[in-house]
Each structure stands twice: as C-alpha cells, then as structure tokens.
Point group: C2
Chain length 327, copies 2
Amino acid sequence: VRLGPGTEFDLIRNLVGEPGADARVLVGPGDDAAVLEEGWVVTCDLSVEGVHFRRDWMSPEELGGRAMRAALSDLAAMAAEPVAVLLALGGAVADHRSGYLLAVGRGARQVAEALGGSLAGGDVTRSPGPLIIDVTALGRAAEPVLRRGARVGDDVWVTGALGGAAAAVALLNDGREPGPDLRRCLTHPEPRIEVARRLAATGVLHALLDLSDGLAGDAGHLAAASEVAVEVDATLVPVHAGAREALHVERALALALHGGEDYELLFAADPAFRAESEALAHELGLTLSRVGGVHEGSGVRLRLADGRVVEAGGGWDHFGDPGGAGP
Amino acid sequence: VRLGPGTEFDLIRNLVGEPGADARVLVGPGDDAAVLEEGWVVTCDLSVEGVHFRRDWMSPEELGGRAMRAALSDLAAMAAEPVAVLLALGGAVADHRSGYLLAVGRGARQVAEALGGSLAGGDVTRSPGPLIIDVTALGRAAEPVLRRGARVGDDVWVTGALGGAAAAVALLNDGREPGPDLRRCLTHPEPRIEVARRLAATGVLHALLDLSDGLAGDAGHLAAASEVAVEVDATLVPVHAGAREALHVERALALALHGGEDYELLFAADPAFRAESEALAHELGLTLSRVGGVHEGSGVRLRLADGRVVEAGGGWDHFGDPGGAGP
C-alpha cells in the first residue's frame, strides 16, 4: 500500500500488508476508495465526536450532512458518480430520546439525496458516549482516476481555495466566531463530484485525489502512490481569502498545507491541460490553480517565496501530531 | 419500512420515512442488507466497546473477527456470497501504540478472507475512548431471499442452536467463565453463508433473515416485513445445550428468545420443505428445527409447554430494555 508518511498510514500498511490477488477487487486499500468489478467504487468514512467534530460547532443536521459530504468526496476523488449510501449511527440513549440522533441522520440523508445517492441501509446503535457517524458510499465510474499515474513533467493542480475549514476550526478553538464564508467551509464542504467527472473527461488527468489531509499530506499520498516527487510552490497555493483575513498569512498558508478537510480536488495533469484550464474553470465556476509539478524522486517539497526549498511535512494524522483541523 | 417493534426500529422508521423510488436500489432499508442493481448486496454493522463487547471478554483478534462475522452474517441472511469488505476502526492513541488496534484489524481481515471477502478498503481514526469497529460487507446474490415473502401456512425454521452467545455473556456478567463451547458461540459465531445458499436453492424458501436480535425480535421483523403473524412453539426452540446446562432451563430459553447474536438463520418455508429437511440437515451437518408457523394477523405469539399462548415480547433493543447480550 503506497501511502504518504504518518503513523495512521503505518497502521494501514501493517494491516493490509501485501493485498491478495482477487479479480473482483480492481483497486484495493490505499486509494480514496476501492474499485470492484463492473466499475463499482466503494468507500467508508468514520467520524467520531471529539476527534472530527464537536457538537457545539454546528447543528445536528449539519454534523450529519458534513459526514456525508466527506464520504461522498471520496467518490468524487475517483471521478465516480454516487449511487447509494449506508449510514451507521451510534449515540447515547439521551441523544436518541431527544431526537438529536434522528436529526443527525436526517441531515446526512438529505445531503446524500441531494448529491445523487439513495439511503439504502445502515445501522443504528447505542454508544457509551461519543456520537459516531460512519458513512459507506457506493458509486460507479466508467473509468476511475486513481492516485497512482502521475508522471514526471506533469503539473499539479487544485480546485477552489484551501484552508477554510481548518481556519474555521482554529477560530472556534480560539473562542472566536468564524464568518459565514469560513463557517460554511466547515459545515458545507462541497464534494466535487461533477467537477471531477468533467476534469476526467479531458483525458489528460493522470492522478486524482481529494484534499482531506491537507495539501502537503495528500500530495504525499499522490507522490507515494505514483512513485514520484511533488514540488509545491507556496506562492501559488490558493489560500482561502477568509482564512487570510481572519488569521496571519503564514498561519493561513500552514492550515492550507497541513490543516485538512477542504474536500477540494488535487490532481496531476499533462501540461496540455494548461491550454484548456481557463475555459474549464469558467465553465465550472471554480478556480483551478496550478500549484506545482511532478519530478523524479519521492516525497513532497515546498518552494518558499524566498526561493528556499524545504520538506513540506505531513498532513492531518490522527495518531501523530494533529494538524489544524479537529478539536 | 416494515420492522418489528422497538425504539431502535422507531428511529429507523422515522429516519427513512417513505423511501424514494430509485431503480438502482432494489431493496432499501429494513432488510438484513440492501440490494443494488446487478445483484449487489451491501450491509454495514457498527460494533462499539461497552455496548457490543467488552475487551476483557476476548482477544483483540477475536473482537475483530466477531465484528466481521456479524457483518458477513447479514450477507448470509440474503443468501448472498461475500465479495469484499471495508473495515473502519476507531481507537485511542494508546491502542494504536500498543498494537491492539492492529490486532483487531488483523482478526477482522483473517475472518473476511477465510469466508471469501477481500479487504478492499476502510478507514482508521482516533477515538476519544471506546473501540469502534464498523464493517461494510459487499456480496452478490443471483436471487436474494428477503424478509418479506412469508405466506400463511408456511412453517418457520431455524438453523443450529440458540442462546449460546447470550448465555456466555450472562455468565461473564455474573463473573463466571463459560465453557469452551459457549465461549465459542460468542467469539466465533458462524455466518451461515453456504447454508443459506443451499436452503435458497431448494426453491421453497419464502423469507429469510439472520438471528441477531433473538428469535422473538427477529420473528417480529419477519412478521412485520411479510405482514403476517408468527407463532413460535416454545417446546420446539433448539436451546443451546451448554446454555441449558450452565443456566436454568427457563433462563436459557429466555436468552434463545430475546438474547440475540446467535447469527443462525430464521426462515419461512413452504410445508413441502419438511420432506427434504432431514436429508438436507444431514448434508449440511447442522440441525434444522421447525419452531412454528405463519398465520393471518401480525406480531409474534409464543405457545408455551402448558398450552397457553402469549405475546412473545421483543428482542435486543439498543435504546430500550437490553436483552441478554451486551455488557
């Protein structure tokens, strides 16, 4: 399993080892989602109170919706179209009695249906404390785009603006109220489902993933999966304007690089993509930023404004030093 | 959604409401698993420490294996064959550092592979305390057998012996050590995958589910889904011999009816099945017990040894009065 550095990913490497050969599993562990026979793309995403969210940050409907958005983003990251979702919820008896758990479930269901996935099943159970939301998302892709496949000489691009969700969390953790734009980055991240399919249709995308661990962390996954090095130019990273305004410029950039949970897309494309990027960005109503390139080697390097080139460091890691997001 | 009584199922009813029409989802919430286009059968099963298990009951490998067995039993309950699984694990940092979380994952993976499902993906995250295991199981069935379909005049059957897992839990909760047979009911329940497919091949099965909520609770789901009444003859219930020996006969029967987590099969079949049941049981190496019948009406009735007929009561309910299983 070729993933970037981090103790969380060490555990996955140890668990999976050398995956067995199974003709029914076309892509196994290590990508944003698995690919099964007939183009089925499946992923699950576990959100736990106190780790991924705090309930004083948003309404129960928003909590459920956000968990669903995060899971569906993993389908977008494969250029897949949602078909169905399973929703597993765990909550305390009091959360059931008060209707809180139902509100979380309804929020998740509404987002799934709005984005094309039917609620097909799930599980409900008691929790000894923390709210637990696990979403399984099932989709289909005629030609899924994987993390592996980036080639030396490719450009590296991202969609949208980065660091907004992590900035909102940073403000909340500082006891400050994020403005509506930043708050929305946290509560309503947009899985780039249609954008990914449109990008894949250009035919010049070589690798694709979504930004859940921060640009540095996810570029590390891209580099590891493709067995290349990625160089990111710090001056080209599209840091969210609200994050730049509310925090120091340096801190906002750090959150864009290491904070995670933006759910924008990161992709490697042939330089031929440059010619069509502007028209495509206009068509999609979304900025497309060329942030770096693919080189021989391994890992992620960051080119700073002063010309120095440094190791980029990792992203969000549940078992290591946490990045910007999470309580 | 036609499920039996219980506050846990009320929440599912409230959440799902009237499912929307989606040609890609052939069977939605309310059965053991969902059925998607092309015969894909998908289910998820969430196990939480302190609710579904205690870690002093078994090794981490057994905990993971048991969670996987429970999820794969839901595929058996549809007469489906496993293809792949996703494994989501949540644990404290200390459980990661000590290798405990990895051992749980390995136990789950080994069971999946032994039963025909490849580990295709998953998620690993930190938990603020309780160990969290969520398994998504994906399988295929040419002709899935549902909970609905039982007809007035059908017989009601179960495989194997019931109450063993709940008896093991009852003993552990009383500070007693269950014998190896009973302990194995808890740690190594056998998903009846091949048995279910063989039963379905007889062509006289009208409804099928697995026994996770206790016979009374699951018969309630069968009755609700099929819009019939089920009568169970208490004298015909195959109570696990180890449970009868270790506990009072009445308590063992109560655990078979309400305790849950046996993961045997419950099915309604045309009376024509009686003629072949003995040969089939011999072929499968598993007892098949006719425990009652399907009648006009609704709900589950229990015919006692003295001839009285009473309401059977419910099964395991996470948000109501707990049944026999669970800590």
